[in-house]
């Protein structure tokens, strides 16, 4: 294990049951992602991008193979260990933002810190800093239903980075946004990658996202077709 590799994917295959047969979403994937990379998984729908992100995020387990995060195999972790890993080391950005509707923007961003039992003062400082990074500190008291899609995605970004995770996994982060907002989001993410050193991994087929990526991994039919560093 190279200590520079924050993610190592070794011979990973993922199959899903479809009726009485199985569909192979990923087939024998091998990848290494270094700390601080700004990497994207691209490919057509059904190529396995989201499935691979879910496996890395310990939201699902591979049918075969190993996924090592900081040298530890996430596939063999218990539910509690996986939850701890997600809370402390991984941030998620989803296509449809997935903000908790009954909480304010501040509380949504604060949520991962509550689970980490941070003090109130620490939480407040970290949340305001994260909202500053995404330019939303002035709407901290609003509810998700009161803000635009672009703002909601920026809140989701703030939530994903507030705990300063090692990795942020972003699944089609610009898919629901117009071009202006999409570029704004990618600018923010790039800045966070450069300033905080967080490893970003995207799944996308949006050309605007691809423009920003330093490493592009192309998936097709569940296999790595191309792996290119710009």
């Amino acid at each position: 294990m190279n200590t520079n590799n924050i993610i190592e994917i070794q011979n990973v295959t993922k199959r899903f049951p479809v009726g009485e047969t199985e569909f192979t979403a990923l087939s024998d994937i091998n990848l290494k992602i270094k700390k601080g990379e700004f990497t994207g998984l691209i490919g057509p729908s059904g190529s396995g991008k989201t499935t691979l992100l879910n496996l890395i995020g310990a939201l699902d387990i591979p049918s075969e193979g190993e996924i090592l995060i900081s040298g530890k195999n996430v596939a063999v972790k218990s539910d509690a260990e996986s939850a701890l890993l997600r809370n402390e080391h991984i941030g998620f950005i989803f296509q449809s933002y997935n903000l908790l509707p009954v909480y304010s923007i501040f509380e949504n961003v604060e949520f991962p810190l509550l689970l980490q039992k941070k003090s109130k003062a620490e939480r407040k400082h970290a949340v305001m800093q994260a909202l500053d990074w995404v330019g939303l500190s002035d709407i901290a008291n609003k509810k998700p239903s009161q803000i635009s899609g672009g703002q909601a995605q920026r809140v989701a970004i703030a939530r994903s980075i507030v705990k300063k995770p090692d990795i942020v996994l972003a699944d089609e982060p610009t898919a629901n946004l117009d071009s202006t907002n999409a570029y704004k989001i990618m600018d923010i993410l790039k800045k966070l990658n450069e300033e905080l050193g967080i490893t970003f991994m995207f799944s996308s087929h949006d050309s605007k996202v691809i423009e920003y990526l330093r490493r592009v991994i192309t998936l097709e039919d569940g296999k790595v077709k191309n792996d290119e560093t710009k």
């Binding site: 939201l59 699902d60 939850a83 449809s96 509707p101 009954v102 909480y103 689970l115």
Partner: protein, 391 residues
Amino acid sequence: MDTLYNIGLSFRLAFRNIISSGLRTWLTITTLSLAFVMILFFNSMYTGWEYQGIRDQVNWEFAQGQVIHPDYDKLDPFTIESGHGNYEKDAHLTPVLIRQANIYPDGRMVPILLKGIPADQQIVELPTQLLKESKVNIPALIGLGMAQDNNLKVGDAILMRWKDKNGTFDAQNITIAGIFETNVPTIDAGQIWIDLNRMNQLTGLQQEATYLLADAEYNQTTNASWNYKDKEALLKEFYELIELKRGGSSFLYGILMLIALIAIFDSQVFSVFKRQKEIGTYIALGFTKKRVTFLFTLEGTMYAFIATVVGSIIAIPLLSWLHEVGIPMTSNVDQSRKMGITVGEYIYPLMTPELFTKTVFWVVVLSAVISYLPVRKIAKMNTVDALKGKK
């Protein structure tokens, strides 16, 4: 410490989640708090009735216990004839002798129980001093129910016929020296009380009794061949009656409770179905599935917590007020007394801390169980599908 923090956090989140759910939450809470108030109301009423009934029966009829002649069975009128005998005197025992007799009000023959009790007794609240103070030949006490049924009033003389110890019928006029009002119909309906000494003379049954009323210091050393029943044993039938009534009314609040629990169940099914994306998000942010299940169960249980708080705000002042003013039972009291049931004209509901705690406990526990049933599904939910909000 971690567990406490996690539970505290779950409580905060659950509270926020249900308060933010709006009308649905308040409908469920309203139904549940209504059921809670009804449970408290009915149980307080029966507890109040029970306390009043015990007090009245002890004060008017049972004293602290009774020593009963072995041949006498109060449920069998045929045993009155032979169910009496000589008794050992004891400062802690007051004798009562029962004989069958007839009176003739308005030319009708009415069978009655003639009871003799010492006129100077103080063990029960019967106003027997009136017998002592009266100068008439045979002064008698009757209850208000008996007076109304037979159209009798104080000072009325009425012919009474009885059998003496040899089986010979005697008849004389008795005079109503007093009419007492009691909530205990078993010392009122169809009964006439006279001084025991006078009764001994009328019947020839000297130093005999059917049962003996015991005070708290009676130690069961005298009259050992008679059957001693303490007041708890004597009150057994009354307790059974209260439990029967309590059981009957539990049907009503059981239905209300069922409606409230169905509302909680429905909210929970709806939550699990509608909030899948939220469930997935909790898991992605670091919750275990077990913890999400706990959070959702807590949300359902919190309906019960809030309902008990809302219900208490209504029930505690309401029942305290009713405890002071009482609930009039005038429509039922005559019928109940005719059936021999001890009931006052007012029932004063009594909510004991035990009743309150028990009610809160059961409402919360039942709500927790009902809340858990639909959310068990979360443990088997696919997180990825949940995140996408797949139904």
